[in-house]
Every structure is written in structure tokens, then in C-alpha cells.
């Protein structure tokens, strides 16, 4: 029998590398070199793919050249389009963050530093593949050409808000653009995506589903449900874990990141899992394409961990300087996704500093114009933007007696 050692115990509570006042230092981190990771066949058995969960697929080196077998064949036009979407996303975030600060709405969430993920993935997926995003994938809507002004109407909860002012800002929904209605409850969308993919497989229509959640949200039981069902029924779905190192004030160690990678979760279910540099547009594009091809070939789900950094605050409700060094984002060893794609395009001779500056200004101008239009319609809090009666609609397809009565009571 094992020997009892009283008081040998200690409750381990993970702590991040640096807190406000500390100097962020990633110098002891090391990553596989760009180009070093092999690209397996999409029909490789999951058991042979386990190592990918512990590596990091990289294509762009920090100088901007594309390396190795994962380098995708993407034309310069497509890359420039993607660049413009990334710039638009960043400009949009900046303006809407400011709009909230100016009291024009109640809440906003940026995706600063994570733009490559949604935009590369939207580029790799078919336009009618179905997306089940979290609140930080506005890039998908932007890349798919959803009108910015409609996003703003939603954020302002104004008269033209497609969600009729019912949802918190950024909780978009668009069936037409293959974008599922965002939930405030973390991770619930992931098993829903699996169900959608099962339905697609059942119906044989060839569309696949993709879901996104933060590394913090992988702790939720819904993620486990999603992985279990996806594995069991081999659903054509891509589950994307965006590991941006933070979940509000909690570093990724609180979600289990001290013990293994988040991609390793996939290994646990026998689901192929790839870990990718999320700030590397080309790598994200390439792994998504690989996973999509797997799904479309009836080979089932893939988990992708996007290794990135949340450069902005969690939302307009928090100040990250209270829980992490203010300059940690700048110290991030894998750079900024826009700068890295820019270096690549410039290196290819397909882009220039000047073109970049103009594109940035254009993005700002497009956002400004959309902002003007949206604000003309109204910002949050304009009386009468929605008639009271609309509050009682869409609870059910047909309004039952008790809601009719309550509508009357409300004077509508």
C-alpha cells in the first residue's frame, strides 16, 4: 500500500508569465520553423496525425516569404482581396469601439490581432458553407461581403437593425451569408454546428459547417458535446479553437493550457487536430482548406487550434492593463497578421507601402461612409426606433393569447 504523506499536497493555481508591471518576455518560447511541418494526405488516419496537435504549422516566415508544403496556391488578386478585408475589419473595429466610447451604443468587441483567422477561413470555405461563429469572427461577414452598414445598424440597435434591436451589439445573424445567429452563451454554437453538419450529411447537399470558439470556452461542456458527436457521427465540420491567450482576465492556463495544447483536445476524441500560427494568413488558409477537403470527402471533422494573441481589450467593458502588461501584444513573437501578409505581398512584388497606405485610407473611408449612413438612421437609445409591439413578435411563429394580452398591457 502506498505511503501516506500528509501535507505533501498543494493546490496548484496556474498563473500567467507576466502581470501589470512585469516585462513581457517570450524569449524562451520556440516554434517549429515555417515550412518544417509536413502536409499529410487528407485521408490519413487520425492516429497518424497526432503530432500535428503539438506542433505549429507555419508558412510565412517573419520576413514574409512562404515556405514548405503547406504554402497554398492563392493568386495575388485573392491575397489583395483578403488584405483589404483585413484592413476593413480593423478599421471597422476601431470605429465601432470608438462609437461605443462616444455613447452611441452599449457594447463592442474587437478582433484586433486575430483578423487573419476569420478572413483566411472565409476565403478557404465555400461561400455557402455554414459558419457558427463566436463574437470575434466579424471578419467572416466582412470577407463575405455582408454590408458594413447592416452590421452597424445591428450595433446601434436602430430601426434598420436586421435583428430588430433585440440583441446585444455584435451578435449578428445572417442566414443569407451562412452566418449563424451569435449567442451570448459561450460554446453553445459548437455542438449546434455539429448538428447542422450531421443534417447536411443526412441530406447529402455537400455543404460543410465550421464553428469558432475561444480557448477559454473550450472548458465548457458544449465543446465536449461537440467533439463527441462530431467524432461519433463523423460530421463534416471544422471546429476552430481561437487560442488568443486570454479569456477576459484569465490567461490560457486557466483553461488547461499549462498541461498541453488546445489542439490536443482533438487527439482525445480521435479527431484529427492541427495547430497553426493564427497570425499567418497563408497557414490558416492552408489548414482550413485541408480540413474542408477532409470534410467534403466524407472523412469527418477536424479541430484547428489557431495560436494567436488578443491584441485589444476583451470588450468595451474591460481594461486589460489591469490584468496583463500593457505592452504584451507588441511583444507577441508571431507578429501582427496584417503586417505579415503585407510583407509577403510586398515581397511578391504585388503590393507596396503606398498601396497599403491607400488601402488603409480607403478602408477607413468606407467605414466612415457606412458609419454616417448608419448614424443617420440612428444610434442606440433613439426613442421609437422600434415600436413596442415588435418586442412581442418572433417569440413564437404565431403570437399566443398571453403575449397579445401583454402587448396590449404595454400599450402597443
Amino acid at each position: 500500500m502506498t505511503v501516506r504523506r500528509a501535507n505533501a499536497f498543494d493546490l496548484h493555481v496556474p498563473a500567467p508569465r507576466a502581470r501589470p508591471g512585469d516585462k513581457p518576455d517570450f524569449s524562451d518560447w520556440s516554434f517549429p520553423e515555417p515550412g518544417d511541418t509536413p502536409r499529410p494526405e487528407v485521408d490519413a488516419p487520425a492516429a497518424e496525425l497526432r503530432d500535428f496537435a503539438y506542433g505549429l504549422i507555419r508558412v510565412l516566415d517573419l520576413g514574409g516569404s512562404a515556405q514548405g508544403p503547406w504554402a497554398p496556391r492563392l493568386g495575388a488578386d485573392a491575397l489583395r482581396r483578403a488584405m483589404k478585408s483585413m484592413l476593413l475589419t480593423r478599421a471597422f473595429d476601431e470605429r465601432m469601439h470608438r462609437a461605443q466610447r462616444q455613447g452611441k451604443t452599449s457594447f463592442y468587441m474587437q478582433c484586433q490581432g486575430e483578423e487573419a483567422i476569420s478572413i483566411a477561413q472565409a476565403t478557404a470555405l465555400a461561400p455557402d458553407d455554414m459558419c457558427f461563429p463566436s463574437y470575434r469572427q466579424q471578419g467572416i461577414l466582412i470577407a463575405r461581403g455582408y454590408p458594413l452598414v447592416d452590421m452597424m445598424h445591428q450595433i446601434y440597435s436602430n430601426r434598420l437593425d436586421p435583428m430588430k434591436g433585440r440583441q446585444l451589439p455584435v451578435m449578428y445573424s445572417s442566414k443569407k451569408y451562412g452566418f449563424f445567429t451569435i449567442s451570448g452563451n459561450l460554446a453553445t454554437q459548437v455542438p449546434q454546428a455539429v448538428g447542422w453538419a450531421m443534417a447536411s450529411a443526412y441530406s447529402g447537399d455537400g455543404r460543410i459547417a465550421a464553428a469558432w470558439l475561444g480557448e477559454g470556452s473550450t472548458a465548457e461542456g458544449d465543446f465536449h458535446a461537440a467533439m463527441t458527436f462530431a467524432g461519433v457521427y463523423r460530421a463534416p465540420v471544422i471546429v476552430n479553437v481561437v487560442n488568443n491567450q486570454w479569456a477576459i482576465s484569465s490567461f490560457q492556463g486557466i483553461a488547461g493550457g499549462e498541461n498541453t495544447t488546445f489542439a490536443a483536445r482533438g487527439v482525445g476524441y480521435g479527431v484529427p487536430a492541427l495547430r497553426v500560427d493564427g497570425n499567418d494568413f497563408l497557414a490558416v488558409y492552408a489548414v482550413t482548406q485541408w480540413a474542408a477537403e477532409r470534410a467534403r470527402s466524407n472523412l469527418g471533422p477536424t479541430l484547428i487550434e489557431h495560436f494567436t494573441y488578443r491584441a485589444g481589450p476583451h470588450s468595451t467593458s474591460d481594461d486589460p492593463a489591469r490584468y496583463r502588461p500593457a505592452d504584451e501584444a507588441r511583444a507577441w513573437p508571431l507578429g501582427d497578421p496584417i503586417e505579415r501578409l503585407k510583407a509577403h505581398l510586398v515581397g511578391l512584388g504585388e503590393w507596396s507601402e503606398e498601396q497599403h497606405r491607400i488601402a488603409q485610407e480607403e478602408a477607413i473611408e468606407i467605414v466612415r461612409a457606412a458609419g454616417r449612413d448608419a448614424e443617420k438612421v440612428g444610434v442606440l437609445g433613439v426613442e421609437g426606433a422600434h415600436e413596442i409591439g415588435s418586442m412581442f413578435e418572433d417569440v413564437y411563429k404565431d403570437m399566443p393569447w398571453h403575449l397579445k394580452r401583454q402587448r396590449e398591457e404595454a400599450g402597443a
Binding site: 455554414m130 457558427f132 436586421p162 435583428m163 430588430k164 433585440r166 440583441q167 451578435m171 445573424s173 445572417s174 442566414k175 449563424f180 445567429t181 449567442s183 452563451n185 453553445t188 459548437v190 455542438p191 449546434q192 454546428a193 455539429v194 448538428g195 447542422w196 453538419a197 450531421m198 443534417a199 447536411s200 443526412y202 441530406s203 459547417a209 461542456g221 458544449d222 465536449h224 458535446a225 461537440a226 463527441t228 458527436f229 461519433v232 418572433d394 417569440v395 413564437y396 411563429k397 399566443p400 393569447w401 398571453h402
Partner: protein, 337 residues
């Protein structure tokens, strides 16, 4: 017309809907090859294939969530939660998601799913096989909650639930799955075949949601009940000698307030019966509705005969179960007030 048990009637509803509409499919724990622990999905896998009737992992959250995804895609999934007691892991998906997707997306996405679950006690199932959680659903805007009491209603209501474009919680009174138990433990068990409501058409028919049924006419007192308790209330009415009107609500949300008001306006007295714990049970809502609508007609306080505010006990199950004598006592008190 065939005589069916409630199990058979539910099975027939699924069969009819699966044969009419390829968008209907059903899954849940042990639902596939085995046909469900209560055999409600028996033969469906054999008839429609494993892709339309299959086993699910033991994860009620995932069962509900994947059904939501399927419904958003355009299918009409019918899921089985093996016992209502095990619906809690699915509660978030049902309450925060299924119930709100139409509203939050302003109609962009909808969730036409049906959640079947056997509920209620009287089978010596102990505290985790006996619960009646209907009030946890009736409080949630966006859900409809349905409870049949007979084979005929079970089939017609389940068909309506499947055809409904909103999520429907379909609670099945497992105590009367195989026979119309009326709470008289000493009397010999009756089979459904002796009950007129076991005559069930083999084909398609629908009973509209939101409509109650008066199962006994009476002038002195109204008893509101649903599920198993309808049979118990009828027995109580019979044994009491009181001229009681018994209403089977059938749908709890939206409730048939007209039928309730009409009856209580006539009788001036009301007893409400359910098996769930009393505090904040659905009986509280019924009490509130009745007193809001019929205050000036009421001649006595409304009484609730319910499960007690304890977990469902094993050995003392019959002390917990609202039996005819308990209901009769309440009826007498209300008559004498």
C-alpha cells in the same frame, strides 16, 4: 381505428410523421436498435434506417444542441431525453438557444424541434426517475409545453408538436404509458384497451396545441389537471360525490385560458392537481391566472394538490403521489369554504 397503449400511439405518431416527411428524424439514448428504454421508437430504425432513428451518446446537451443545428438546417428532429430527470444537462441549450433563436435572429433562423421526455412518478423510480419538471419549461418564453393524458391525445398532440415551427417540450406521463392508472392502488390494473381514448386512428391526425379538453362535466367545482393526474382527478371526482368538472389542459403553454375561465366562472371553485413539487410549480401559475380572471366568481380559495417540496422519495412514493383521497380532501375543503 386500433386500440393502442400510449407507447404504441406515440410510436405510431413517429411512424406516421417519418413516413410523410423525410425531414423528420429521431434520436436519443438507446433509441435506435433497441427502440428506447420504454420502446417508444421500436421498429423505427428497422423501418427507416439507422440514419433516421439512432442512438446518441449519453450527453443530453449534445442531443439537444445537435437537434437545434439540424432544425436550423431545415430538418424536424424529434429527440428523446430518456427520463425528464436527465434533461438538466440539456437545459441551457433548450432555454438559452432553442427557445430564443427565432427571437434573437428576428426570424432568420427557427428551431422546429420536439423534445420528448417521459416524466412523473408512481413507478418506484426514486428521485431521479420520477420528476415532473414542467414548470421549468413553462417559465421560459419561446417554448411550448405539452402533456397528453391518453393514447389518442398522445398521438394527435405529438404530430402537432412535430409539425409546429417552434420548439415543443413534449412530456409523456410514463405512469400511464401502459395503462390508465388512476391512483387507486388497490383496484386491479386496467389496460388501455378498456379505455375509449385508446381507440386511435392508424393514420395521420392532429390535435391542435393550446386547446384543453373537458373530460368530465360538472357544476360545483373545477379540477385542473394534466398527464397522469387527469386520471387521478377523475377517480377523485367519482369517489367524492362532488359534481366536479375535470379539465385536461393538454397544453400548458400556451394554456387554454378560455376553457379554464369558462369552467371556473360556472363553478366558482377550483382545485389544481399536479405531481411536481408545490412551490413555484405550474399550479402556482394556474392559481394566479384563475384569480386574475375569475376573482369575482371565486367562492373559495383555490387549492393546490401537488407533490411535496421534497425530492421524490422511493419507499414513501405513495405518500408523495397525489392520490384520490388527497384530492378529495382538498375538494371538500374548497366546497365547504
Amino acid at each position: 381505428m386500433t386500440s393502442m397503449t400510449m407507447i404504441q400511439a406515440l410510436n405510431s405518431a413517429l411512424d406516421v410523421m417519418m413516413s410523410r416527411d423525410s425531414k423528420v428524424l429521431t434520436f436519443g439514448e438507446d433509441v435506435g436498435y433497441f427502440g428506447g428504454v420504454f420502446r417508444v421508437t421500436e421498429h423505427l430504425q428497422q423501418k427507416y434506417g439507422a440514419k433516421r432513428c439512432f442512438d446518441a451518446p449519453i450527453n443530453e446537451c449534445g442531443i439537444a444542441a445537435t437537434a437545434i443545428g439540424m432544425a436550423a438546417y431545415g430538418l424536424r428532429p424529434v429527440i428523446e431525453i430518456q427520463f425528464a430527470d436527465y434533461m438538466y444537462p440539456a437545459y441551457d441549450q433548450i432555454v438559452s438557444e432553442a427557445a430564443r433563436i427565432r427571437y434573437r435572429s428576428a426570424g432568420d433562423y427557427t428551431v422546429p424541434m420536439t423534445v420528448r421526455m417521459p416524466y412523473g412518478g408512481g413507478i418506484f423510480g426514486g428521485q431521479t426517475h420520477s420528476q415532473s419538471p414542467e414548470a421549468l419549461f413553462t417559465h421560459v418564453a419561446g417554448l411550448k409545453t405539452v402533456i397528453p393524458a391518453t393514447p389518442y391525445d398522445a398521438k394527435g398532440l405529438l404530430i402537432s408538436a412535430i409539425e409546429d415551427d417552434d420548439p415543443v417540450i413534449f412530456l409523456e406521463p410514463k405512469r400511464v404509458y401502459n395503462g390508465p392508472f388512476d391512483g387507486r392502488r388497490d383496484k386491479p390494473v386496467q389496460p388501455w384497451s378498456k379505455h375509449p381514448a385508446s381507440e386511435v386512428p392508424e393514420g395521420y391526425y392532429a390535435i391542435p396545441l393550446g386547446k384543453a379538453q373537458t373530460v368530465r362535466e360538472g357544476g360545483d367545482l373545477t379540477v385542473l389537471a394534466y398527464g397522469t393526474m387527469v386520471h387521478v382527478a377523475l377517480a377523485a371526482a367519482e369517489d367524492s360525490g362532488i359534481d366536479a368538472e375535470v379539465i385536461d389542459l393538454r397544453t400548458l403553454v400556451p394554456v387554454d385560458v378560455e376553457a379554464i375561465v369558462k369552467s371556473v366562472t360556472k363553478t366558482g371553485r377550483c382545485v389544481i392537481v399536479h405531481e411536481a413539487t408545490r412551490t413555484s410549480g405550474y399550479g402556482a401559475e394556474l392559481t394566479a391566472l384563475v384569480q386574475e380572471h375569475c376573482f369575482y366568481q371565486l367562492e373559495a380559495p383555490i387549492e393546490r394538490v401537488t407533490g411535496y417540496d421534497t425530492p421524490y422519495p422511493h419507499a414513501l412514493e405513495w405518500e408523495y403521489f397525489p392520490t384520490p383521497p388527497r384530492i378529495i380532501k382538498a375538494m371538500r375543503r374548497v366546497m365547504e369554504s
